[in-house]
């Protein structure tokens, strides 16, 4: 697995993908958080990072599919999938290598925003008047959400050899899982069913984490969703033997 992982990371660094993804993410988030009047923290008057954590996922809905769209689609198109799959690597080695490479790239995009935390920490009145545990929980949530988006993107890339289709399918599924279930639940009037549908979506668990309590149920939710998508990818890769 580690061989595929380092090849993929090398691929991100050698092409422009890594720099563009990180650059676009930080620019978009920076503009939204500090510059644009409607969403800027400075105009908001509260020392919190809500802008980052509510708008960040929407930026990731587009960025992560752009990272993952080539992972399998390109290998299929070039025929290099055959090269990889006839080497002593299991399908899990290949897909986990690719998955963790994308996750690391997302992590690298998120880390520089810790500067924002320091900034609002200093801007708080008195200094340090910030909900630090809430922010820590939100960071954990955002990272886990990024992981789920990566697993969705990898699955979308494995079902086609066309990168545009992979991108669109992944962006749609990410959006559906992030806020789609929330919107569906509003259509159901009865409480129990509505809650059940909400709990299927990412937003419910993301909000729960952002309150600062890292609940094992939420973490397990994110990890199981990731696992389900990775398992589906494994099934797609194994389908050549059907």
């Amino acid at each position: 697995m580690i061989q595929v992982f380092s090849k993929e990371v090398g691929g991100f660094l050698n092409s422009l993908i890594a720099y563009i993804v990180i650059g676009v993410f930080l620019t978009a988030i920076g503009l939204l958080t500090w510059i644009f009047k409607d969403t800027s923290i400075l105009d908001n008057g509260f020392a919190n990072l809500d802008t980052l954590f509510t708008l960040g996922p929407y930026v990731l809905v587009f960025l992560i599919p752009a990272i993952t769209m080539k992972s399998f689609a390109e290998e299929r198109k070039l025929g290099t999938m055959e090269l990889l799959q006839t080497k002593p690597l299991t399908d899990w080695d290949i897909l986990l290598g690719k998955f963790f490479a994308s996750v690391i790239l997302v992590l690298c995009a998120l880390l520089p925003t810790l500067v924002y935390y320091y900034t609002i920490y200093q801007l708080g009145d008195p200094v340090g008047n910030v909900d630090s545990s809430g922010i820590a929980g939100s960071y954990v949530g955002l990272f886990l959400l990024g992981m789920v988006f990566c697993s969705i993107g990898i699955l979308a890339s494995s079902i086609t050899n066309n990168q545009i289709i992979a991108f669109l399918v992944a962006a749609f599924l990410c959006f559906l899982f992030y806020s789609g279930f929330e919107s569906f639940s509003a259509l159901v009037l009865e409480g129990g069913q509505g809650l059940f549908i909400r709990q299927l979506g990412i937003l419910y668990h993301y909000e729960s984490l952002s309150r600062g309590l890292i609940d094992s149920r939420d973490v397990i939710y994110f990890i199981s969703v990731c696992f389900v998508f990775l398992l589906s990818t494994k099934t797609v890769l194994g389908s050549r033997s059907w």
């Binding site: 055959e82 006839t86 080497k87």
Partner: protein, 240 residues
Amino acid sequence: MSITVRNLTKIYGTKPAVNNISFSVGPGEVVGFLGPNGAGKSTTMKIMTGYLPPTEGSVMVCDQEVSRQRSVRKTIGYLPEHNPLYLDMYVHEFLTFVGKVYGMRGADLKRKVAETVERCGLTIEQNKKIEMLSKGYRQRVGLAQALLHDPQVLILDEPTTGLDPNQIVEIRQLIKSISANKTVLFSTHIMQEVQALCHRAVIINQGELVADDTIDNLIARSSENSLESVFRDLTKNPVA
């Protein structure tokens, strides 16, 4: 036997691509695998290397069944059809990656990569991106990745297709030089190549085995005393 194919059948949907073929290749032999386009050569090779599972029958390489034992892959070097490569990687980087996949590390890895680069005549090109290379050099990179781990068995799917005459001769010489202590099975539809490289040929047509004999015997069979005419006689398909 290095390679034993036993009653191999592969069915895509309802159409058999390979139908009940059996042959074997002994240690150190160089065997040509011939057939018209669409005869099932590539499918057979994909099964031999473990990329596709057989519908029925089995392939044993070095006494291990390919579809069951993953460890057998370390004894096989495979050059797939159309020679797929990571175009955005550097030659040296690509070979290092392949070496790591085979579990090589440190000094051993460096030595193997350096040896293979030299053996395949890639010394000048090793620091170039693969996309910058000509087709002939790309083919050398493809052979290098198949040879890197010093496999006992080499399976080459149309190693000279699409090359110019000079490159064909170069690649052929390369195959000849590496085949000294290896078992090689290669597919082609260039008859001179078979005569230049191997002692024996296996010919398939529409998924069925039609000949498995030494080159001399095959030529003796023909009406015009050439391998080409044998090939045409054996693989003449009725026009649909």
